[in-house]
């Protein structure tokens, strides 16, 4: 199931790409699976089909999807790329920004720590798989 919020400040195509990427990383979408066509997903989410097409293109450029005209999108077996130092630094910076925003919004540090532990467990589980 993919969920987006049209009231969010994040553009819809970004939310679609992020949501699909999370499902791909968690292997909820397996290699070989077909995704809905651009038009079908656009109808279901109530967004313009260019929005969905942009999200699909972004994931295809990252190596997650194979886009064939008229056949929709197929999930690919994606080899893990070599992580450059910039990618790791960017992740750390974004995580720290996210944590700062969450604390600013009043989320307790205990809750944040619990969420981070859960995420860490899922990451380890994903790596083990």
């Amino acid at each position: 199931m993919l969920q987006i919020d049209l009231g969010s400040a994040t553009p819809a195509y970004g939310q679609i790409a992020n949501g699909l990427r999370a499902l791909l990383v968690a292997r909820d979408l397996e290699p070989g699976e077909q995704l809905p066509t651009v038009r079908q997903l656009a109808v279901d989410l109530g967004v313009h089909h260019n929005t969905v097409a942009e999200a699909y293109r972004q994931l295809a450029s990252e190596g997650w999807l194979d886009l064939k005209r008229g056949r929709g999108a197929t999930v690919l077996e994606r080899p893990s790329p070599f992580p450059g130092p910039a990618a790791r630094a960017q992740f750390t910076r974004r995580l720290e920004e996210l944590l700062a925003k969450a604390i600013t919004d009043g989320i307790s540090r205990g809750d944040l720590a619990a969420d981070l532990r859960r995420c860490a467990a899922e990451v380890r589980e994903g790596v083990a798989r």
Binding site: M1, L2, Q3, I4, D5, L6, G7, S8, L20, L23, L29, Q34, L35, P36, T37, R39, Q40, L41, A42, V43, D44, L45, G46, V47, H48, H49, G72
Partner: protein, 381 residues
């Protein structure tokens, strides 16, 4: 156009009018209770609003108006039918529709004061939807096969068809339009039947591909899927009913006395009441099925855990903005790619008139059968 044989009795017309008025009254009375819990008179409200004294009062007044107007329409229709059957029918139905809309409009205006912003959350299943019509292409072909069979049968009985036969009758039972035996006059009803059935197949396919699921996943999603399947099955049944009626109409000239009779229809002769009554029964059956399901399958046991959606549970609304609903019944949203959306007040789907495709479809559905009918009248006369 080849029309149906005469209405032989004012009593029959009055009975049909009364049947239509009673059916519409029942539907109008029940409709507010059949819609999604968080849509009341086509306005997005918290699901808990229906239980408030204000909502109960709005509903009570609406229903009282529906009953009063329906009774007046019934009296007027029956009274006028003694003088002119068709005028009675039209006046009764017209008055009831006006009264219903007025009752709805007043109720809606009060509910608007309690409106809540619809959710901005959108969800989608990621499994590609199966684009299969009920019964597959085998059942979809059935009506066309029946019409084709009738055409072949008429060809085999060509010599038995009268040279000239009536194709339209006035309410007094007298033929008022005739056609000579020709391909257009004989096969005309079958051609119209085929065009209308083909239109319904296209409509079903578009409904399958171009409508959004409001609650994907879970029991509510399954119920919604069943509702969509039921609507598509109704469209299929409609194709068969139309094929039956048009086939029957095309065979009327074979009736022994239909070509020579000058007076009212004789006993045993096919009468217009047969297809009318059949259609009325069909509408009653369809209404019963859809009422049992509720809009979007919301009345199915288990759809929301065996009860209606509890207050505060799940997103509010049908994932369409209130401002895009004109009078709560016409949806106009150019930013929504869905061509079909669930009706907010009623059962089934309506088109998104913010998309040019909706206007093209509407024009084709109205103009093609009309143009065909006009051509056949001229070709057959």
């Amino acid at each position: 156009m080849k029309a149906l044989p005469p209405m032989t009795s004012t009593f029959e017309l009055t009975a049909v009018t009364a049947g239509i008025l009673v059916l519409v009254a029942v539907l109008a009375y029940l409709t507010p209770g059949l819609t999604r819990p968080d849509l009341f008179f086509a306005v997005t409200v918290p699901a808990s609003f229906r239980g408030t004294p204000e909502a109960r009062d709005i509903l009570r007044r609406y229903r009282a108006w529906v009953v009063i107007h329906s009774l007046i329409a019934l009296g007027l229709g029956a009274g006028l039918a003694r003088i002119n059957g068709l005028a009675g029918m039209l006046a009764g139905i017209g008055l009831q529709q006006a009264g219903w809309f007025l009752a709805y409009y007043r109720a809606r205006r009060r509910v608007t004061l309690h409106a809540t912003p619809p959710t901005t959350i959108r969800e989608a299943e990621l499994r590609p939807r199966t684009a299969r019509l009920p019964g597959g292409w085998v059942l979809q072909i059935g009506p066309f096969a029946a019409l084709l069979a009738a055409a072949v049968y008429l060809r085999s009985r060509w010599a038995d068809l009268p040279e000239r036969f009536p194709v339209h009758w006035g309410l007094d039972g007298q033929p008022d339009r005739w056609a000579t035996r020709s391909l257009a006059a004989v096969d005309g009803p079958l051609l119209i039947g085929a065009v209308v059935s083909a239109s319904l197949v296209v409509l079903s396919w578009l409904l399958l591909r171009q409508s959004r699921q409001i609650r994907p996943g879970g029991l509510a999603g399954l119920a919604e899927h069943r509702f969509r399947h039921a609507v598509l099955s109704v469209l299929l049944a409609c194709e068969y009913l139309l094929a039956l009626i048009f086939t029957w109409t095309s065979l009327v000239p074979l009736s022994a006395n239909v070509a020579t009779r000058q007076g009212p229809a004789q006993p045993g002769e096919p009468a217009v009441s047969a297809p009318l009554v059949l259609t009325l029964l069909f509408v009653v059956a369809v209404a019963a099925i859809l009422i049992r399901l509720g809009q979007g399958g919301t009345r199915l046991a288990g759809a929301t855990g065996g009860r209606r959606q509890p207050p505060g549970a799940g997103p509010v609304g049908d994932r369409s903005p209130d401002r895009c609903w004109k009078a709560g019944v016409i949806y106009v949203n150019p930013d929504d790619p869905a061509l079909f959306v669930e009706k907010r007040f009623g059962l089934g789907y309506t088109m998104n008139f913010g998309r040019p495709a909706a206007w093209v479809i509407l024009a084709l559905f109205l103009l093609v059968p009309l143009a065909l009918s006009v051509w056949l009248v001229h070709a057959g006369s």
